[in-house]
Chain length 347, copies 3
């Protein structure tokens, strides 16, 4: 058994499950999906949608929830939360890419930048004056960190991240390629048909354990800072306007836009491509469905939607025509009610 | 009084306001938001939404409009347009980051590129053959300017801007990190189940005083150019298709997409995440609400919307069911009208 | 006649058309739009929308379809598909930018990277260990290719493309600036109010002849790979989640988001800013209109929509009020039906 291999019983014990229908000594070499698992692999089943794939899997063992204890006859680990159990096992089998220690010769580190011990700076980075990078952080190739940027300990910036002057990122954060932190917020005062730029004098403060997906942008504040609290997870291509505050452990899916000065609570979940207007307050534990447009503050936890699902075009054309016709329908109803009342009175 | 400090009366005089309820000699050291202002700070109040914050502010002075002359007893400047006044004061207190003069040793400037006097080129830039950069322009670290690119005088490219060959940017423009100007438009002719690429032979021309937000993309034209006229303000993550033309001083918020060959007038305001179809014409001074989908040309100034605000999920499910039911409702109405007419006739 | 010039008759013969109303020996020097064409230019007319521009064009010749044979008296080529014909002629007149052979001195090519003959690597690229680039491929300035990345023959990466470790791109593909391939998918398991990251251990495989627009992001898979099949065309700022599969020759317009594990068929067309939920299956040859939200699988070819077109604001406010009122309308209908039935029975 290599260092990478684990016995089924050891996995169950380590993460809190019960081995059912198989030998606790079974050696698990890899983790794989239901569809692509082979002999030696463990897989997981956490959604009824994939029942057919479970039936056809060639995995040696499966992680299942208590409700699916009998959904397969394969050796299995029965546990309370199979998705969480899978996450823990996957982390066990995952190779972290080794960091290159030190500063690559091609990186440009300007005078006064401070790098803590164990920092890795990739090729062709630019670290400007007075930037400070915490111990063990890994700055990927081609990252650009402006003056006075602060990066906490153990944080990873993948290739091509840009952080404007003065912005701060906490410990153990992960920023993916193309992320831009601290560009100017969109602020102009109209004057005589033109726009006078309002200098964006705030900054961006990002908490610990935040992850930010590729090409997401977070603008600096106008006067105060834009704040992303600890544990927030942001997917790709999200746009966060100036002076937004996002509460701890909120998760936001791809393509979401959040306009300026909006405050989002903690433990929220915002679905992909949702659009949240400016100057709003969203309570803790709010769920916004993908594609939904939020134009007013939401002051109670719950799920909010405004999406009309795709419809065959011909049918949809009739629905839109009906929509335009609603006022006339309402008028016809009112008229009918009046005429009917007259008839009833005449009886 | 340092160079940075200004007397309240001087601010009022300089930008056109009246000192009320305080000493014109009061020294103002900084500008800050209602919420975070301290003694020595001036703040501003331009929206009733923030009345509570006005009541609690610790600022030494406030900028207010004539309608809010008595909204506070703090020393204040009463003016016609407090937001514009704030913008002007903020510009006074804003530190421009000093440019590094000259070309950083790590930048790659290819033969035939022409840099006017006072140009600053940051570390690890690539300036290709025959590119021309105007006097006093600042090219941030890691920018990539293709062959024959032209940049006007006094323009600033933040870190990591890419401009494809042949594109032109006017004077005093600002491009934020991750902006891509001049990638190919999305043009293919279908043939036998595949797509034949149409070469994108036009360019992009961007006017003076344009600002472009982080990760915004502006495609080059197919035959003619894509054109962004002077004074246009584009927020982050906007996508502008090939051969679009955007009229002077139009402002577009984040996450907007504008499909190919559409012409947008001047002085328009397009809200965040709006989607504007291709081959349309939008008149001058049109306002499109955030999240709205524009599928037809708009030939008159005014405000246009098509957004349904977020609704609690249970309620929304019933609304969607109703939507699918509209034709039957209409049919039932028709039937009722017929039956009622019969009853009325029988009288 | 220079090498760049072609006789009208030669163009017609080469691409399958008929010269009408003009001299087959006419020399065509350039291709241009209806609006900007000058003497010596050929242009094309493929949509009735541009009839006025056809009337005013100064082109020397026009490409038209059989149905527009008599829409102009200018010398013309009549052909079956004028847009396809235009594409072919445009390709004839298009200058490919010459590649710089070899590896620029400023590029960082790490040990074990393999570059096939004829590869061009621009300034300030980073090619990490064991990456392999196929013959004749062109890597633009500032591209970042991670460990074990594979790039097929004849592929072009424009400036500033990032490809994470282990991802593969096929032959003759084109990736535009700011594209990020292989960032982590958005996968976390909730546990005790926080999010536990699920390592993203799959990769991205991109087929031959794929084109990817600026700032588009394609995430790596969690366990299996994310797959973009051959001939797919992706516009700018598209977000593709982990484990998505997109079938051959599907075309997707800008700003589209596709959530994780969704499978899209081949020969589909997805309009701009459409949003496609996760874990769905979309059949072959499905057309999704721009801005449409897809929340359920689509199992039949056809056109699907859910977009409400922009409406003047005052009118729209009434429609939204009506929407909120639909249940009451339905209730009123039911009541009327009951009362009317009673009256009818009494007769």
């Amino acid at each position: 058994m290599t260092q990478r291999e684990h016995r089924l019983g050891d996995l169950a014990e380590r993460f809190g499950g019960e081995v059912v229908g198989g030998d606790a000594n079974l050696v698990i070499k890899r983790i794989a999906s239901l569809r692509s698992a082979q002999s030696g692999d463990i897989t997981f089943f956490s959604h009824g949608r994939y029942r057919d794939e479970l039936a056809g899997t060639r995995a040696s063992a499966v992680i299942v929830g208590a409700d699916a204890r009998d959904a397969t006859t394969l050796p299995r680990i029965v546990c309370q939360d199979p998705y969480l159990f899978f996450a823990k096992v996957a982390r066990l089998y995952h190779d972290e890419e080794a960091a290159r220690p030190g500063v690559h010769a091609s990186a440009v580190v300007l005078p006064g930048a401070r790098l803590a011990p164990g920092v890795s700076v990739g090729p062709l980075c630019v670290i400007e004056e007075e930037a400070a990078i915490g111990a063990g952080s890994r700055i990927g190739p081609g990252c650009m960190l402006g003056r006075r940027v602060k990066i906490g300990d153990g944080t990873q910036l993948h290739a091509g991240v840009t952080v404007y002057a003065g912005c701060e990122i906490g410990e153990r954060a992960t920023l993916h390629s193309g992320v831009v932190v601290g560009a100017d917020g969109f602020g102009y005062a109209p004057t005589a048909g033109k726009w006078l730029k309002i200098p964006q004098m705030g900054s961006v403060r990002i908490g610990a354990d935040v992850e930010i997906g590729a090409n997401t942008t977070i603008d600096r504040g106008a006067l105060d800072d834009t704040v992303i609290e600890e544990g927030v997870k942001l997917d790709n291509q999200i746009q966060i306007g100036h002076n937004v505050r996002i509460g701890a452990n909120t998760a936001i899916a791809g393509c979401v836009g959040i306009a300026g000065s909006t405050r989002i609570g903690s433990h929220c979940m915002i679905g992909g491509a949702a659009m949240i207007g400016g100057h709003l307050t969203i309570a803790d534990r709010v769920i916004v469905a993908g594609g939904t447009v939020v134009t007013k503050s939401i002051d109670a936890a719950g799920t909010y939607v405004s999406v009309i699902p795709a419809t065959p075009a011909r049918e949809w054309r009739r629905t839109v025509a009906m929509l335009r016709n609603l006022e006339r329908m309402s008028e016809r109803l009112r008229l009918l009610e009046r005429r009917l009342a007259e008839l009833e009175n005449e009886k």
